[in-house]
């Protein structure tokens, strides 16, 4: 057991060590304070309405050594614009926001969207599109519209082929067609209707029957970037099974015969898609059965849509049936159509092709701000220590420890 003298000696050593450590801490605070005084700082408050140039300036400032803490409640908002891949020039605007969004362009307000996510197809956009949610403003530059190539329709002589061609042409597509009347006779429409689809000529091919026509050419076309729509009986075409999203189909009768019910698609026969491939995406269901699905194959895209006799929808449906039928087929083809991006659409690494670099930079104000400046500070303060380098309580503590250590040594008779 240590003697009292040894215990006091140990406590004196502890007190001396503590004093040294406290002095070192005080010295560190002094150095930090000096360093902070030497580093410039800009505290900013942002609303989300700042232009990209302003945000980029602050980011440049931060990268040059200036501390740029920022504060402000920027609403979560993201907007994206893309040229619709259909012949009629239009822009599809997709928006995600916490609150209601107001869309506009350089001419004024276009429309508004409720909170959440939504998209809108807008024709005749002038200048940049603006999406405002609260104080935040997203600005997107619509990608330059590029009219896709021609569409090749393959099928047999019948109402479905006739009205699909009519719908596509009314929607603005240029259509070539090969329609079989007998084994030895095919009715052809358009200069490019011979020898299957070609990427330089066609953007997409629509197969409407089960004949194994031009299967090899279609496979090459899709692999190289062309689009394929397998519609109606074409959805069950075994010659394109390797490309189709579904490995098998099952014929299902219409749920009703009349078009005066709730959904016009219920009155159509369906080739329900089954045994979907792992990379296939379900686009539409009818009573739990898969009615349409899509997948990528090589550089191209394939849509399999099982509804048959859609011409009956156009002819027998309600007042807007012809327009709805036209839009349905134009959308199907537009979803797969190959569009060559022209070289004058500026892209940068990490930017999706077809959108300008500026559009991606301003499309999401909050994300862009966090990316440029880091997360917001709860209160805009410098991150360096503040106040005097040696607080009073620290000085008092050091003095008390030194006095105690000195007194202890003196009472023990030591110098």
């Amino acid at each position: 057991m240590p003697s009292r003298a040894e215990t006091r000696g140990f406590l004196e050593l502890v007190a001396r060590t503590a004093v040294v450590l406290l002095l070192a801490a005080a010295l560190w605070r002094v150095v930090q304070a000096r360093r902070a005084e030497a580093t410039p700082s800009v505290q900013v408050r942002l609303t989300g309405a700042e232009r990209a140039a302003t945000r980029d300036s602050l980011a440049a400032l931060a990268r040059s050594g200036v501390t740029v803490p920022w504060s402000g409640e920027i609403p979560a908002l993201a907007a994206m614009a893309e040229g619709v891949r259909e012949p009629a020039p239009a822009t599809r605007v997709s928006v995600v926001a916490d609150g209601a969004v107001v869309l506009g362009d350089s001419l004024g307000t276009i429309d508004s969207l409720a909170a959440g996510s939504g998209s809108l197809v807008v024709a005749g956009v002038r200048g940049a599109l603006r999406a405002g949610a609260g104080s935040a403003m997203a600005r997107v530059d619509p990608a330059k519209h590029v009219a896709p190539g021609r569409v090749l329709v393959l099928g047999r002589a019948g109402w479905e082929s006739k009205f699909v061609i009519a719908a596509l042409e009314e929607a603005g597509w240029s259509v070539d067609a090969e329609l079989a009347v007998v084994d030895t006779l095919t009715v052809r429409q358009g200069a490019g209707a011979r020898g299957g689809p070609r990427l330089g000529t066609h953007a997409a091919v629509v197969v409407l029957d089960s004949a194994p026509r031009a299967a090899a050419a279609i496979a090459r076309f899709v692999a190289a970037g062309g689009g394929l729509v397998l519609g109606g009986e074409g959805a069950a075409n075994g010659a394109h099974r390797a490309l189709a999203p579904a490995r098998t189909v099952r014929a299902v009768r219409p749920l009703s015969r009349a078009f005066d019910g709730v959904g016009p698609m219920d009155a159509l026969p369906l080739h329900a898609l089954e045994a979907l491939r792992a990379d296939a995406l379900v686009l539409e269901r009818r009573e739990g059965r898969i009615a349409a699905a899509a997948r990528r194959v090589g550089a191209g895209r394939v849509v399999q849509a099982g509804y048959g006799d859609t011409w009956r929808w156009r002819m027998e449906g309600g007042a807007d049936a012809a327009a709805a039928h036209r839009a349905h087929w134009s959308r199907l083809v537009g979803s797969v159509a190959h569009v060559a991006v022209p070289p004058d659409v500026v892209t940068s690494p990490g930017t999706p092709r077809g959108t300008s670099a500026d559009a991606s930079a301003e499309g999401a104000p909050l994300a862009a701000t966090v990316h440029a400046l880091g997360a917001a500070s709860p209160v805009a303060t410098a991150r360096t220590p503040t106040g005097p380098p040696l607080p009073g309580w620290l000085g008092a503590l050091i003095l008390a420890l030194l006095l105690a250590e000195w007194a202890s040594r003196r009472t023990r008779g030591l110098a």
Binding site: W159, F163, A177, L179, R253, E316
Partner: protein
Amino acid sequence: MGRLMPDFTFATAQYDSGDWDSAPLVPANVIDSVARYTAIDVAPTGVIVPLGSRDLFKYPLVYLTGHLPVRFSDVERTRLGEYCARGGMLFVDDHNHDVDGQFHKTAWEAIAGAVGPLQDLPNDHALYRSFFRFPDGPPTTSHELNGWGDNLVHKHLQAVLRGDRISVLYSSKDYSSEWNYHPDNKRFFSVDNTRFGVNIVVYALTS
């Protein structure tokens, strides 16, 4: 599952005025030719569809003929206009073969009121090569060559076009008489005179 409906059903228009059923053997004869020459899935019998009925929309090609004056009711006129706007095609044949006859005069007026004015169809139109080739335009009929009716050989058919597609095809050539016989009797002809009927059907199904 087989198809719910054949690809093509021959439909004859029934209208309120006139003798719409004046050529009852034409449907069977055209159906026979379509089945004989093409692989089109054709219904073995034709149907009769009231022009003012919504059932009209089930048949995108409809045949209309008669001898007597044609007066479309308001419902028939509206229905026919909508039918053509949606892409239906009406084939009208003057069973009188007489441009001075009552059918011709009233049918032109009724069609103009419901769909639009008729105009001459060029003889190089796709209709004349949609299946069989008719380089000189519409084939003549024995009624024209024999000098019956208006004693004219009509050089053109007439049509109402929507874009470059035919909405209404009008004939003064009296194919209704020319084709109004039992299909079994085709064996007595050196050339089947209903071949142009096949062109009309194939054109309607493909254009």
